[in-house]
């Protein structure tokens, strides 16, 4: 097992363990902390795969944006923090079916995708930020613009809903 594998499995175990903590924990804020570590584990794997820009964006968006929003929402909602969440199993058979279905789909996608693999001997670190920037401004300009319009619409919608009462 090379050093690469060791680090990969360490990060993978870290990600999965904190994801499990998030699911099992009865306290919603503890779950949020589990989510934080899980995001970090994924960011670590991105770094390991030389996707530096993606790793930083993962931290910036998920930790700096979504997780803070989540915690903020939890704390602004009255008494939600003191409610013990139920973490038992309710619908065992449908849950197993749904999870198995998702697993099959993911497995098939992973197996059928033609991954852009570089032989280990030729692998070297190439900064990705510049390439991603060029691609977003050339080949993927229309999806990029559509997503930005969608986000703007969501923002305006959220502001509209929030202001309805006053």
């Amino acid at each position: 097992m090379s050093l690469f594998d060791v680090i990969f499995y360490l990060f993978a175990a870290f990600t999965l363990a904190s994801a499990a903590l998030m699911v099992v924990s009865k306290n919603i804020v503890h779950s949020a902390v589990g989510l934080l570590f899980s995001f970090f584990g994924v960011a670590g794997i991105y770094v390991l795969l030389a996707a530096d820009f993606l790793a930083v964006v993962q931290v910036l968006v998920y930790v700096g944006g979504i997780l803070i929003l989540l915690l903020f929402g939890v704390m602004l909602t009255q008494r939600i923090t003191s409610v013990d969440m139920r973490t038992g199993t309710l619908q065992l058979v449908p849950a197993i079916l749904a999870v198995a279905g998702i697993f099959v789909i993911l497995f098939r996608v992973i197996r059928t995708t033609s991954w852009n693999i570089v032989p280990e001997a030729e692998a070297q670190f190439i900064p990705t930020a510049e390439k991603i920037g060029y691609l977003l401004m050339t080949d993927f300009l229309i999806p990029f613009e559509i997503v930005s319009v969608l986000l703007l619409a969501a923002l305006i919608g959220a502001a509209f809903i929030a202001r309805k009462g006053t």
Partner: protein
């Protein structure tokens, strides 16, 4: 850093026999130890400076006895006292998170030091997206603050934490937009390259480029980071006349010291980033004069402490703003002006 490792590995020392992985681990650990020490010492210097500057602004003298000359050992003695103090955890606090929050805040602040360029060769990790990394990691500080406020199980703490989160998240936007102006002007997110285009004297500093838009960006960056580090006049998260001490009300001893260290380390960090982006970083303001290795460290520290001095000066000059004024400043003043700066620089670059 990388050059240092290869030089030592190729040299005739006993280190040459070790595999590169081991060397990397040794140097990364060493670097982390050095940066932690530097960070702690800087925080002590920052606290001492704050006390002296505020004292002189208010026509007092500040600490004068400990250590002899102008009380220079006062903050070190304070730190020692904090280490020896009893660690009090409220009975109904969430013990694990109460313990974890200061570690997260201090750890995240320290992690940003890894990419700060203290000189052409004095940088731990010269990564090509350094400035983006700083933006990402510093958002962790907010999570630490929220957790601290929540885990304390105290109304003041929770109020302070929520104020802090709202404030930092809002002011991150104008700060990032101001940084974007520099990224546009240089065409790189690497802090080393951003300094490299500014080498050669005070007239090459990016603050003068694309006049007046970069100057505007610098002012926006400075105000926004003032709010991000919870400094007066934006110190609502710890407004002592309203909510006791905000998110660290229930902290004592070393955990409280960790918050305090993180605050001053954060001030230094935004000072270094501000100096790097706008004021030439480690390069000398006099061209080649005094621009060799050790002087670069001197220049970056001088510029960063200059910015910290202005931060302290503002703190003891302006009264605290209200929450609505705070949000007004961020969303209706700084953010539109930041967009103006970006569009202005864009026009300059196209024309």
């Amino acid at each position: 850093m990388r050059e240092l490792i290869t030089t030592l590995a190729n040299g005739q020392t006993f280190l040459a026999n070790l595999p590169e992985v081991v060397l990397n681990i040794i140097f990364i650990s060493l670097g982390a130890v050095v940066l932690t020490t530097v960070c702690a010492v800087l925080a002590l210097v920052g606290v001492y400076m704050e006390r002296k500057v505020s004292a002189h602004i208010q026509d007092r003298v500040g600490p004068m006895y400990v250590g002899g000359f102008h009380g220079w050992l006062q903050t070190a003695a304070d730190a020692l006292k904090l280490l020896l103090k009893e660690d009090i955890v409220p009975a109904l606090a969430d013990k694990k998170l109460h313990f974890f929050a200061p570690i997260l805040v201090f750890g995240a602040t320290l992690a940003t030091f890894a990419v700060l360029p203290f000189g052409r060769h004095y940088v731990m990790s010269d990564m090509n997206i350094g400035i983006l990394y700083i933006l990402a990691i510093s958002s962790l500080v907010v999570i630490g603050t929220i957790l601290a406020g929540w885990a304390s199980n105290n109304k003041w703490s929770l109020l302070g934490a929520m104020r802090s989160a709202a404030q930092v998240v809002s002011f991150e936007i104008p700060a990032s937009l101001a940084i974007l102006v520099i990224i546009m002007a240089v065409g790189s997110m690497n802090l080393g390259e951003i300094v490299n285009v500014q080498v050669g004297g005070i007239h090459k500093w990016l603050i003068w480029k694309f006049f007046p838009f970069n100057l505007l960006a610098f002012i926006i960056y400075f105000i926004a980071t003032l709010a991000e580090t919870n400094r007066a006049p934006f110190d609502l998260p710890e407004a002592e006349s309203e909510i006791v001490a905000g998110f660290h009300t229930e902290y004592s001893g070393f955990k409280w010291a960790a918050f305090f260290l993180a605050e001053y380390a954060n001030m230094f960090m935004v000072g270094v980033v501000g100096a790097t982006l706008f004021l030439g970083g480690w390069s000398s303001p006099f061209g080649d004069f005094m621009n060799s290795g050790p002087f670069q460290i001197f220049w970056i520290f001088a510029k960063a402490f200059g910015l910290i001095f202005v931060q302290i000066w503002i703190r003891w000059t302006l009264p605290r703003v209200r929450v609505d004024q705070l949000m007004y400043t961020s969303w209706k003043v700084l953010t539109p002006f930041a967009f103006v700066a970006i569009i202005g620089v864009g026009f300059y670059m196209i024309l």
